[in-house]
């Protein structure tokens, strides 16, 4: 490691504040510390930094709040971490248009506060919202419980400005809620884990906060809950969230299976939903409780934490498996019985309306026990992903399970926009 | 033959007289709304077989880019059923029917048929359809053939199959031995008449469907109408017009106008949708002839389909009939005359009758005048589709309002050995009144 005073390479033409030496430790990604951390404060500085890095073929990782850096493989090589936290301006916010344009380094909390002042919001469920940046959240596209009824990043992102690996800056989309002018590059960068470019600016359409926001928890036998979830998901109630909570999955340590619902709307609308929900739960032989505001907030915060890798690598493995909603019941029993037969502790949370299951697995000989489990899981399920795992395990398994049929195309896209694999080298699907 | 050429090259275009009006062609903005309603497009999913495609072909001929004699022009203009489903949905109001007939006439001119065909067509359109005496003679011969046992004999010998006429034979309706010969006869209502109406008896209606003509008169009389079968009327001319025989069609029209002008009538009632559509559009035949245009306009203004007319009356309640029916919309009622609700309202007024709607009720059954004879393959596929849709409803009776459809659907049912009945809507009403 070079000494603190001398940067590992000449930084003059990077043209922005930087850190090197020990100070870079706190920007480690999965245990890999960068040689230099850049702290640009303008979009131009980001572009210039990328240009300089690419000129010298230095690898670079964009870095927001660091809350989701556990996702993906560890960087193969990491010369530079480019912190986006200096890009923290809300550029335009027009409440009457229900649109907002923000820089990538704004935290979700910062944006939410601005929106809340006008009774508006972005329905993104994330852990650590005071650290998590909007750029990082979009790059990870880890969607929470409200995706079911309110939509998520994919539904609300209407424009982007991107800095590409060679320093080119280009925009796509716009500030309007409907747009087919040119290709939808928002989708291209969504969930690309910053491997195709650095998000500089993001435009969203925003939602109005509903006057009523109720959370209910339903308990009953697992099968009854799953069948109730299926009924709710295809009903006209348009619930915001239908979340299946496994035993001991949340901090409240409840030991039975539960189904949590988020209900929003006008007074009359929400009341009607609540009444119907009670009736449907009763008919499935389940019990409904309505939570108080604080309890509710805690519950959803816990859900967000559960599905978010955070520091899971120290504790165990976090996986996500997606199936069609009707396959959820089978999936739950497959995962729990595989965990059981491999001597692993397992807790699960699932977006029941979407068919997305998250499981946390822990145990004494995690690495050895997890591998057979993962092997059989990925054989039966094309869409399984390890969101977090201890470093040694990550070296041994394919985090993305099976490669999709479009993988060649993904490789071509990566090669086009980042031919030298400078951005987040090796971290994405298939070690792109 | 040069087909796609610069406008300067020698592609044969339309002759000026009676060309498909450019103003109508130009109204088409190519939105494509007509595509899914077109029966031939539904069979082929090929753009050429769609109204939009056909209009474009006519445009190309009109622009001098496409030769009028090109095979595709002829094929498409005759593949078209002229059901006019496209017209009913066209937001721009393109009168497609006003393009097809002139186009066919132009093709006939540009592309003379062999002499024997021309003679045969003249015989059929001028002699048979042009002269009701001749028509009745021919129909009488068919009736005799059917009723005398001759048919059974002929069928047994397999002669028809040998001659390739078996399909045509199967299409023939059972022709009754008694015809309605319009000669001024009247049907009187009970009590004082509220309406004086003339019955357009038609050619096929008054012969093969004579009982339906009589039923029509009875139902009208039952509802306070004095009905007269106006003498000297003849075929409406639609068949000739559809076949591109404009002159013959015009002669037919004139004769009917003259016949009906003589009487003071509240309405001219027609029970064949195809004839009704033609009668209502006589004015288009006399462009550039103000005198006849005016007379045609007056005539057309008083023409009413029987359902349309009955729907405006305070109907005398019919008796009960326990039937499950489904309604097959005749194209020339639904699309050409835009009458869709009236027949359904009438059916709803018969106690005990339950209407189960079929899918694609307004898609042509493939009869379309003489289409089933000239395009048997398309016609058969449309018929099969119609039968499937109709039978799926579980109805015991299929209701229609046009002789062509009734014959077509009935022949299909016969072939499939189905016991479902096909009735004209007035036949059902008549039955209901008689059951009181």
């Amino acid at each position: 490691m070079p000494s603190e005073a001398t940067p590992p390479f000449d930084l003059t033409d990077f043209g922005c504040p930087s850190l090197s030496g020990a100070a870079t430790e706190q920007f480690s990604i999965q245990g890999v510390a960068p040689r230099v951390v850049l702290l640009p404060t303008t979009e131009e500085e980001v572009a210039a930094a990328l240009k300089a890095a690419s000129a010298r073929q230095l690898t670079l990782a964009p870095y927001g709040g660091g809350t989701l850096q556990e996702i993906g493989y560890p960087p193969e090589v990491l010369d530079i971490v480019l912190s986006t936290r200096g890009l923290n301006r809300i550029i335009t916010y027009e409440p009457a248009d229900l649109t907002i344009s923000v820089q990538a380094g704004c935290t979700l909390a910062q944006i939410s506060a601005a929106l809340a002042a006008h009774g508006q919001m972005l329905p993104f469920d994330a852990a650590g919202t005071d650290r998590a940046t909007i750029g990082g959240l979009v790059a990870a596209n880890l969607t929470g419980p409200r995706r079911f009824g309110t939509g998520s990043y994919r539904d609300l992102l209407i424009g982007v400005v991107i800095a590409y690996a060679d320093g080119t800056v280009a925009k796509a989309g716009g500030q309007v809620v409907k747009n087919v002018s040119g290709y939808d590059l928002m989708k291209l960068h969504l969930g690309a884990l910053g491997t195709l470019g650095v998000l500089l600016r993001l435009n969203f359409k925003v939602l109005t906060q509903r006057p009523v926001d109720i959370t209910t928890v339903i308990t009953g036998p697992l099968n009854a809950l799953l069948s109730l979830a299926a009924t709710l998901a295809t009903s006209q109630l348009s619930l915001d969230s239908i979340e299946l909570l496994g035993p001991s999955s949340l901090r409240d340590e409840a030991t039975d299976w539960r189904l949590a619902e988020r209900i929003t709307g006008s007074q009359a609308g929400a009341q009607r939903k609540l009444t119907d929900l009670h009736r449907l739960a009763d008919s499935h032989g389940c019990r409904t409780t309505t939570l108080g505001a604080t309890e509710a907030q805690e519950l959803w915060q816990d859900c967000a934490s559960f599905i978010s890798p955070g520091t899971a690598s120290n504790e165990g493995v976090l996986i996500r498996i997606s199936v069609q909603p009707s396959g959820l019941s089978n999936l739950v029993s497959t995962v729990t019985s595989l965990a059981h037969s491999n001597n692993l502790d397992c807790s699960v949370v699932a977006h029941a309306g979407d068919g997305t299951l998250f499981a946390r697995l822990a145990g004494s000989d995690l690495t050895a026990a997890f591998r057979p489990l993962w092997e059989s899981l990925t054989q039966g399920h094309a869409n399984a992903l390890i969101l977090a795992a201890p470093g040694n395990l990550k070296g041994e398994v394919n985090l993305w399970g099976q490669l999709p049929s479009g993988f060649d195309l993904m490789r071509r896209i990566k090669a086009e926009f980042d031919p030298h694999r400078l951005l987040n080298r090796g971290r994405f699907i298939g070690h792109l | 033959m040069a087909i796609v050429t610069a406008p300067t090259a020698k592609a044969m275009g339309f002759t000026e007289i009676d060309a498909p009006p450019r103003s109508i062609i130009d109204r088409c903005v190519q939105c494509g709304f007509c595509l899914p309603t077109c029966p031939t497009y539904q069979l082929t999913f090929s753009e050429a077989s769609s109204p939009r495609g056909r209009i474009h072909l006519l445009r190309a001929v009109s622009d001098g880019r496409l030769d009028l004699r090109a095979a595709v022009v002829r094929e498409q203009m005759y593949q078209c059923l002229n059901c006019r489903a496209c017209e009913a949905v066209c937001p721009s109001g393109v009168q497609y029917g006003q393009l097809v007939e002139p186009a066919r006439a132009q093709i006939e001119q540009a592309h003379p048929r062999p002499l024997w065909q021309r003679m045969f067509r003249t015989f059929i359109f001028v002699r048979v359809f042009g002269d009701m005496r001749m028509f009745r003679l021919a129909s009488g011969a068919i009736a005799l053939y059917q009723h005398s046992g001759l048919r059974t004999l002929v069928r047994r010998t397999g002669m028809l199959k040998l001659l390739g006429l078996d399909k045509q034979d199967a299409l023939l309706p059972e022709v009754p031995l008694r015809f309605v010969i319009p000669s001024g006869q009247r049907w009187q209502p009970q009590g004082s008449p509220h309406h004086h109406v003339g019955l357009f008896t038609g050619c096929i209606m008054s012969t093969a469907f004579a009982p339906t003509d009589e039923a029509t008169a009875r139902v009208l009389a039952r509802n306070g109408c004095e009905v007269v079968a106006v003498p000297d009327q003849g075929c409406c001319g639609a068949l000739a017009l559809h076949a591109g025989e404009a002159g013959t069609g015009r002669e037919n029209a004139k004769r009917n106008i003259v016949a009906f002008e003589r009487l003071e009538l509240d309405a001219i009632i027609v029970n064949a949708a195809g004839c009704g559509a033609a009668l209502k559009e006589y004015r288009h035949l006399f462009h550039g002839d103000p005198e006849w245009s005016r007379r045609a306009e007056r005539f057309s203004a008083s023409v009413r389909d029987v359902s349309e007319f009955l729907d405006t009356l305070d109907l005398v309640p019919p008796g009960r009939l326990d039937r499950v029916v489904t309604y097959q919309e005749p194209c020339h009622l639904a699309h050409a005359q835009r009458i869709t609700a009236a027949p359904r309202r009438l059916l709803a007024k018969i106690p005990g009758v339950r209407l189960v709607e079929m899918e694609e009720s307004s898609l042509c059954c493939g009869s379309a005048g003489i289409y089933n004879v000239i395009r048997p393959e398309f016609s058969r596929r449309l018929l099969e589709r119609k039968l499937k849709n109709a039978l799926q409803t579980g109805a015991d009776t299929i209701i229609s309002a046009n002789p062509g459809c009734i014959m077509q659907v009935a022949s299909g049912l016969r072939e499939q050995g189905k016991r479902v009945r096909v009735l004209h809507i007035v036949d059902l009403l008549d039955e209901a009144y008689r059951s009181v």
Partner: protein, 499 residues
């Protein structure tokens, strides 16, 4: 290269007839003789869509299976011929026009609904399935397919995917992209991929989202898995009648500003109301300055509240009358009028040229004022019928193509309107796509760098630019006006018509 040249005139096969014959016979081997159109006269009907341009393809194929599509695409590669996917040809930006000749692959015979799965709220269909049929076949079970372009009874799901089509109900339900779960895509190389796979979440890059809206330049969709949506319990439709466009557009801003997102919020000006009434007799007041058609849906109780709120906002902003459709039939009639509005304009003038710009919703009033001013400047009437809730304008310039000066003014008017939209923070197309028609206008919005990135993405899918060449990207950068004049001259000479 074998190519059909001559926009409107002589068809020239630049290479020998035998190459063409060879191509045709190989195509026939793949799909059968009755699914190949090769005779020039018969190709005429594939030279247009619902937009302005025209061009003849060299051949048209109507395959029925994915495998056939794959073989056709491979053949096109061997012959080095452009491939243009085509659905029903209702596109308003020229996307399905074979501007460089080549093979048009028509999907209208790939029209089977392959599976419907209510439990998982999805259906898998072939691309030639008609949009409205999906709803027709699922509503009995309480579901519908939400994106509803006005052309929904005609246009194909494949076309919708390519254009990312919108429609009145996209205001609250989202456009096509929000309802596509997976695509089977034949790439320009002939390889077949599934962009997502059957199961939920993104796995790798979001190829599905990237492909939707790519206007047939990334490949041809041969199977589409769509999301089905539960039908709302209650639906109410209001017709608010205003004296002026200004009042109506202020009302739109007020409704959105109040945080109410109706299921649909459409505006029609007086001119449109007249045309619609003539065509549909649906109950639109022909003497109004403008009307808003507002649909509210959801649970009964919530809808009642919204009806009250929206009615009040309308009245407070000058609505002389707010009518509520009393029955399903009345609702259907109002919608039939709205959805047929574009075609009905054919009754007002021989031609209309539709724009599809979008502005932020607060900019609607001033944009519509500008449109009125443009109308005065170019001395041609402009009829507005559009998705007001989204800020997606459709000013229709009414003109007569027989008059050459008309055409120049029409194009100028369109250009000015779109430029204004972009100046106000908007975009040049909200749902019809760029295609041929807006190739120059897209440069108002994006810089060369922006467009270069998009072109690079296209090249990943379509490296030889075999699929739908010459679309989306400006052929002559910065020469918009130049080309428009060329178009104008051509229109005048050849009698092409706009939309």
């Amino acid at each position: 290269m074998l190519q059909v040249r001559g926009l409107l005139s002589t068809m020239v096969l630049e290479e020998s007839k035998s190459v063409h014959n060879d191509l045709i016979s190989q195509l026939q081997n793949i799909v059968g003789a009755d699914s190949v159109v090769s005779h020039p006269a018969e190709l005429l009907v594939y030279e247009y869509d619902a937009s302005l341009d025209r061009h003849l393809p060299a051949a048209v194929v109507l395959p029925q299976t994915t495998q056939q599509v794959v073989e056709i695409v491979k053949l096109a590669n061997r012959f080095d011929l452009p491939v243009v996917p085509r659905g029903s040809g209702t596109g308003l930006s020229g996307g399905a026009i074979a501007i460089k000749g080549g093979i048009v692959i028509v999907t209208t015979r790939m029209n089977h609904i392959l599976s419907i799965d209510y439990a998982n709220r999805r259906a898998t269909v072939q691309p030639g399935v008609i949009n409205a049929d999906l709803t027709h076949y699922t509503e009995h079970a309480g579901f519908f397919y939400a994106p509803d372009p006005s052309s929904q009874k005609v246009c194909t799901i494949g076309g919708n995917v390519a254009e990312n089509s919108g429609g009145p109900h996209c205001l609250s339900y989202g456009a096509t992209t929000n309802h596509i779960l997976d695509l089977e895509l034949v790439l320009p190389t002939g390889d077949v991929i599934h962009t997502s796979g059957a199961d939920g979440d993104q796995h790798g890059l979001d190829l599905t989202g990237t492909v939707v809206g790519s206007e047939g330049t990334f490949g041809i969709a041969t199977e589409v898995t769509v999301r089905l949506t539960p039908l709302p319990e209650d639906t109410q439709v209001l017709l608010a009648i205003f004296r002026s466009v200004d009042e109506a557009s202020n009302t739109v801003s007020a409704i959105i500003g109040a945080g109410i997102i109706p299921a649909a919020l459409e505006m029609m000006d007086g001119l449109c109301c007249q045309a619609i009434e003539a065509a549909y007799h649906a109950g639109y007041p022909p003497d109004a300055g403008a009307v808003l058609l507002v649909e509210l849906d959801g649970l009964r109780e919530a809808v009642e509240e919204l009806v009250d709120q929206v009615s009040t906002i309308c009245r407070n902003h000058g609505a002389g009358e707010v009518r509520r459709a009393r029955s399903a039939a009345e609702r259907a009639a109002l919608w039939a009028g709205r959805k047929g509005a574009l075609g009905a304009l054919g009754r007002l003038a021989p031609n209309y040229y539709i724009q599809d710009g979008v502005v932020p919703r607060t900019k609607l009033p001033e944009t519509l004022q500008f449109v009125e001013q443009v109308s005065r400047d170019i001395r041609l009437p402009i009829a507005n019928v559009f998705h007001a809730g989204d800020g997606n304008l459709h000013p229709n310039i009414l003109f007569d193509r027989q008059d050459p000066t008309n055409i120049e003014r029409t194009l100028r008017g369109g250009l000015e309107i779109l430029r204004f939209c972009v100046e106000k923070g908007g975009v040049v197309s909200g749902e019809h796509g760029i295609g041929l028609e807006k190739r120059e206008h897209i440069a108002f919005l994006y810089t060369t760098e922006d467009l270069a990135v998009m072109a690079r993405l296209r090249d990943c899918f379509n490296p030889r630019q075999l699929f739908n060449p010459d679309k989306i990207f400006p052929p002559l950068r910065g020469c918009g006006e130049v080309r428009d004049q060329r178009v104008a001259a051509r229109l005048a000479k050849e009698g092409i018509y706009a939309v």
